[in-house]
């Protein structure tokens, strides 16, 4: 009996000691992260059977267990991954938000404003050199904001790469530690021990790992945990694989795991968050900023390229964009212009080049037509070469270079030719006759034209015979081809006659002017085909005065057209009753009838519409000699974007946020800023048009204005940051509540432990008392003996 009683007391003492020890451990680790409350599992010992009785055999310590909810632990791991990803994104996104410097006017928006403010100031006084410098500096400032923003965002990508490297190191350290713990736990548990504290440690490490990358854990039968990163094994039992950062073919750092082919697409954790930001948000922003820069360059250069700088028309000009040998055959000229590696698209249409003679100011307007599907670089160079006094060539870098002959200049403005009858086919003082028909003409090879000019005894006969080689298609010979064939003929040259083509008709006229000049159309088999049949046998004589039509004003219309001036009859300006000049547009519609007969004061300006006036001088017009003149009115001097694409006379160079800059020579010489559309130093039409860019709805920006597109961009940055921030906050709250639930299950309550302590202290005291009582009982019995 005594043995049983002592035994029971001893067991109770031991149990209380264990329990007190556990209370101590719990209190000591009350604040240890990841610690799970431990409990001593007590149970009554197996009873003893004695004399038909079942005797209690005291208490027994079954084990020390952790109180833990496995499911909750897994949910916490998952939430940590989400939170880690959002926290990483939030930090970087806030950094990006700061880069834009909005609100406060220190961002791109302020710089765009600054550019327009600079243009506006200069528009007030275009000749002021200080305002000119300011307008150029505003552009320089804007360009540098663009490139700074671009650089900061691109740098951010690099920093993300570096941070990924550091995080991968941490992942490897943790994975190594987990593998180590796996071994210890398996060993301990194989020996039937409960590795409570080791498991807590391992769980804490897994939480750290989850904050870095998205992981999945599976515990096997030995108690070891397998860790999968985005489905790939990182830790298995006691071994761990190395995570590393490699560059993909585009040079972007990506995550790789030893022994796994390809790259691991991480989603969660800090690393997942960084990758997400780098591959989604940042490139999206860069694309939009590039779009802003590109469309700004396009819109500004479209207008600026048609301007004239302070010093007047150009003597030479080099494009800033390079033509690329895309088919790699060593020849740039066979490249299709619209697909020659230029940064801006070229579409079909026309652009105009004005060639101005410096001494007289005489302007010749030349049209170059572009067919996006056909025109090659060589065709473009050929078109420039066809323009008198102008040469086009490619420099060593593949940039277009245009050079004017000495004494000439050129520009691309939409100004009108103020002396449109430079050829002398509209009442000039030269002897002249025009064809009554417009080309194309059916000319047979061998057909001829016979003319007679005074000289020698009586007159000199000139006979020009046409050859098949004179025409691309003799059945459809153009007036220009006929004129060129005539002008190339030596006999024709010697006669002092000149052939011209105007409005598709052939004109013959003397080089000299005045009443002493004359020639006779004798005949020839081509005369009728060329519309000169009715004039055979007539003699044409020069006059004293020339009508010399003069255009004044600036064209304010938006459409591009060729006006044709035709006299209604024969007569003298200001004299002949009812003499008028009919003006037709290119569709053949009569747009204006100008009364220039009796009652018109020669030299008086007549309104032509769209801001233009025309005046006629004392001279004679002849409808029977088919007097005719054309005037190009140009609304948009380049509807093809060829000038912008080639970088001719642009304000900006470059094509995106990284490359945008003010043209170098404008920066060093602000006089090259082309403010004027007429060449006058006080003219500011280009600047006024540039100010309109602010209100322009741009197709490349989904029909938004520059400002709206920028505002949308800033709004979206704000939305992104706000979304990440609120996501991070929400995920923190969820994690917090999960942690609190974990605490309520696994956490230590000191008061609770103190109660336990008191309880087991009393149990210990009770057991001691029991032993003492049994001991006394023994003593009592011994005394009896």
């Amino acid at each position: 009996m005594s043995r049983i009683g002592l035994n029971t007391g001893l067991k109770a003492l031991l149990a209380a000691q264990y329990a007190l020890n556990t209370v101590g451990q719990n209190i000591a680790n009350a604040s240890t992260p990841g610690y799970s409350r431990q409990r001593v599992e007590l149970a009554a010992s197996h009873p003893l059977r004695q004399r038909g009785l079942m005797l209690g055999n005291g208490v027994e310590v079954r084990g020390i267990t952790r109180t833990i909810d496995q499911l909750l632990e897994r949910r916490i791991l998952g939430q940590i991954q989400v939170g880690g990803s959002l926290a990483a994104q939030l930090g970087t996104a806030q950094e990006i938000e700061g880069l834009f410097g909005e609100p406060g006017g220190f961002g791109l928006g302020g710089a765009i404003d600054g550019l327009f403010a600079g243009f506006n100031q200069l528009a007030g006084n275009p000749a002021d050199p200080i305002l000119r410098t300011a307008a150029v500096q505003a552009g320089v400032d804007l360009a540098s904001r663009f490139s700074q923003l671009d650089k900061s965002l691109t740098n951010l990508e690099g920093e993300v790469g570096r941070e990924l490297g550091i995080l991968a190191q941490q992942v490897n350290q943790i994975a190594h530690a987990v593998a180590g713990l796996n071994g210890e736990i398996s060993q301990a548990e194989a020996a039937g021990l409960e590795a409570n504290d080791l498991r807590d440690q391992r769980q804490e490490l897994l939480k750290n790992l989850a904050s870095l990358a998205d992981i999945n854990t599976q515990e096997d039968e030995t108690g070891a945990v397998r860790v999968l990163v985005a489905g790939n094994v990182l830790v298995n039992r006691e071994t761990s694989r190395t995570m590393s950062i490699d560059r993909d073919p585009s040079g972007k750092p990506r995550v790789a795991i030893q022994g796994v082919g390809g790259f691991v697409p991480l989603q969660g954790g800090r690393m997942g968050g960084l990758l997400n930001l780098r591959d989604g948000f940042v490139p999206g922003l860069l694309t939009r900023i590039d779009g802003l820069a590109k469309n700004l360059i396009l819109a500004v250069n479209r207008i600026h390229s048609q301007g004239i700088p302070e010093g007047g028309p150009f003597q030479s000009l080099i494009g800033t964009n390079e033509i690329v040998d895309l088919d790699k055959d060593g020849d740039l000229k066979d490249e299709l212009l619209s697909r020659s590696g230029l940064p801006f698209d070229i579409s079909s249409g026309d652009f105009y080049v004005n060639v101005v003679e410096s001494s007289t100011g005489t302007l010749a307007k030349h049209k170059i037509s572009i067919d996006a599907a056909k025109t090659t670089v060589g065709d473009l160079l050929g078109a420039f070469d066809k323009i008198p006094n102008l040469t086009g060539s490619l420099d060593a870098f593949g940039r277009l270079q245009i050079i004017a002959d000495a004494g000439f200049g050129f520009d691309f403005s939409s100004r009108v030719d103020t002396m449109p009858d430079s050829k002398g086919t509209f009442g000039s003082s030269k002897a002249a006759v025009g064809g009554s028909l417009a080309g194309p003409f059916a000319v047979q090879p061998g057909d001829d034209l016979q003319l007679a000019v005074p000289g020698g005894p009586g007159s000199t006969l000139v006979n020009v015979a046409f050859e098949a080689t004179d025409f691309a298609n003799p059945a459809k010979a153009t007036a220009a081809e006929v004129a060129a064939a005539l002008n190339a003929d030596s006999g024709f040259q010697a006669s002092g006659l000149v052939a011209e083509s105007v409005d598709g008709r052939l004109f013959l006229l003397t080089a000299g002017a005045g009443p002493s000049e004359s020639f006779e159309l004798v005949g020839g088999s081509a005369a009728t085909a060329l519309g000169l049949g009715a004039k055979v046998g007539s003699t044409f004589t020069g006059t004293l005065g020339a009508v010399a039509p003069t255009i004044a004003g600036a064209y304010t219309g938006t459409s591009t057209d060729q006006l044709v001036f035709v006299p209604s009859g024969d007569g003298t300006i200001g004299t002949t009753p009812d003499l008028s000049v009919d003006v037709f547009n290119s569709k053949g519609e009569l747009v204006k009838t100008l009364l220039v007969g009796d009652g018109y004061q020669p030299g008086q300006a007549l309104d032509l519409g769209d801001g233009l006036t025309v005046s006629f001088h004392l001279g004679e017009l002849s409808a029977t000699d088919a007097d005719r003149m054309t005037l190009d009115v140009v609304g948009n001097s380049d509807n093809t974007d060829t000038l912008v694409a080639l970088g001719l006379n642009g304000y900006f160079v470059g094509s995106d946020a990284a490359s945008i800059a003010v043209r170098k020579d404008i920066e060093s010489n602000p006089g090259l800023l082309a403010a004027s559309s007429t060449g006058a130093e006080g003219d500011n039409r280009i600047l006024l048009a540039l100010l309109g860019v602010e209100d322009l709805r741009i197709a490349g920006l989904d029909g938004a204005t520059l400002g709206e597109a920028y505002g949308g961009l800033i709004g979206d940055v704000g939305f992104e940051v706000a979304a990440v921030a609120s996501g991070a906050e929400a995920s923190n709250k969820v994690l917090e509540s999960l942690e609190l639930r974990r605490e309520s299950i696994s956490g230590v309550n000191v008061d609770e432990e103190l109660v336990d302590m008191v309880r087991f202290e009393q149990a210990f005291a009770g057991a001691s008392q029991l032993i003492r009582v049994i001991n006394e009982l023994h003593d009592e019995l011994l005394r009896i003996l």
Binding site: A30, R37, Q94, E97, F100, E102, P103, G105, G109, D113, F116, N120, Q121, A123, N125, A127, D128, L544, G545, G553, T572, G574, Y600, Q601, P602, G603, L618, S676, T678, A680, E681, G682, N684, L688, L691, E694, D695, G707, Y710, G711, G712, I714, D716, V717, G718, F719, V721, A722, A725, E736, E739, E743, S744, S746, G747, V748, V750, D751, L754, V758
Partner: protein, 471 residues
Amino acid sequence: MRVSTESAYRRVLIGLRTNFSSLVRAQEQVASGLRILRPSDDPTGISKVLSLERQLSDTNRIRSAISGGLTFVDAAAASLEEGSKLIAEVRSLVLQGMNGTITDQDRAALGKQVALLRTQLIEIANQRTADRYLFGGTQTTTPPWALSSNGQVNYQGDNANQEIRIGSGVTIPINVPGLEIFGKVEPDGLAFAGLTGAGAGATASEGAGTSWLEVRQDTLDIGGLLALGAAVVGASTLIGDHAIVIDAAAGTIQLGDGPVQSLPSAGSEDLAAFTLQSGGGATLTLDLTAFTAADYTGSISATGSVSIGGGPFVAIGPGDDNVRLEDPATGNVLHVDLTSVERAGRELVQFAGQIDLFQLLDGIAADLANGDALNQDGLLGRLDLRIGELDRHHGNLLSSLGVLGARSARMTNTSSRFESVGLQVSSLISEQRDADYTSVVLEMSRAESTLQLAQATGVRLIQRSLLDFIR
């Protein structure tokens, strides 16, 4: 629910953190005065703020353009007002010169004054503001009216307008080109002074200002008078064929349709120099000392030639009713009918083209000096013509002044409209972006008292422990 000690600490911490951060956020708004400090504070709001800020800076740009433009317009208007006064002064000088009692010297002195006023007017026409010429169109760095070596001024500017932007797609010119102010007036068509009998030809003429038309006598044939003993003495201005009739019984002689004149008696002073006059005022002086009067009907014919502006002379032929003459200095082209010319001499032809104010003043000064030695009536007639032109120029200048005034008014109105728009937009921006102090301060004090409460209760919670009671 079971609460662990750690979770009690943590809950207190969370509460303190949340309350503190809302206090800090409220304080940040109070300190900066802004509700939106970064785009994420209010992404919709920031887009609105940026759009309003764009509108505001556009408004400011327009106002700055207008204020620059107004300086220009007002300077131009002030100059024109001064110009108008000078023209009025010239007018009064011309009126003084038209007073019949005034001496030639006094009139010449008036002419000098006009010349001086002309110089002043040229200075006004070449006035600048901030290094920009006011009246040169878009040619703003070169003086619009350049004095040439012959004392004439030529317009170097253009007829284009400098414009400023006063709204989206709306512009207003701030200048009136000088030619429109000082050179636009067109006189009433071609006019001849009427001295020689030349008239306008059938074909139109082209030119500006005036040119001198000169008719010269080349040969003179007095026919049968020579046989009667008459001889030509001195200069004769006769041109063309004129009948001559002598009535010996009456002692009279008549040249063409001129007055019937009495032949001088023997011993008369006129005998050696007797002047015959034609109806058109041409004269022929004869020495009749050896003359024997007899009934005679015959004709006298004189050939002549004509030129303008010192150009080449063209012989006057019979039936020349449309002769083309060109002034080599000005390029004026005159088609003239010479069939009625019967007198040699110089006369002024007025062309229908533009004549600028300075040319006119030059002409007035010359007229007052009477360089052409016109008689009183001729001079007054000329000056009267000049006054009319001067008034037209004055009217033209005043209408330009009116245009400038109207633009100035429109610009001022636009500017003040944009000023109020600007204020409105500013207040909208402030509404979007700025913190509402009342509510922010209220929010702050609420956050503050919540924080205080949380602190007080938190401390009490975490201080409690069973240990306090276990001895």
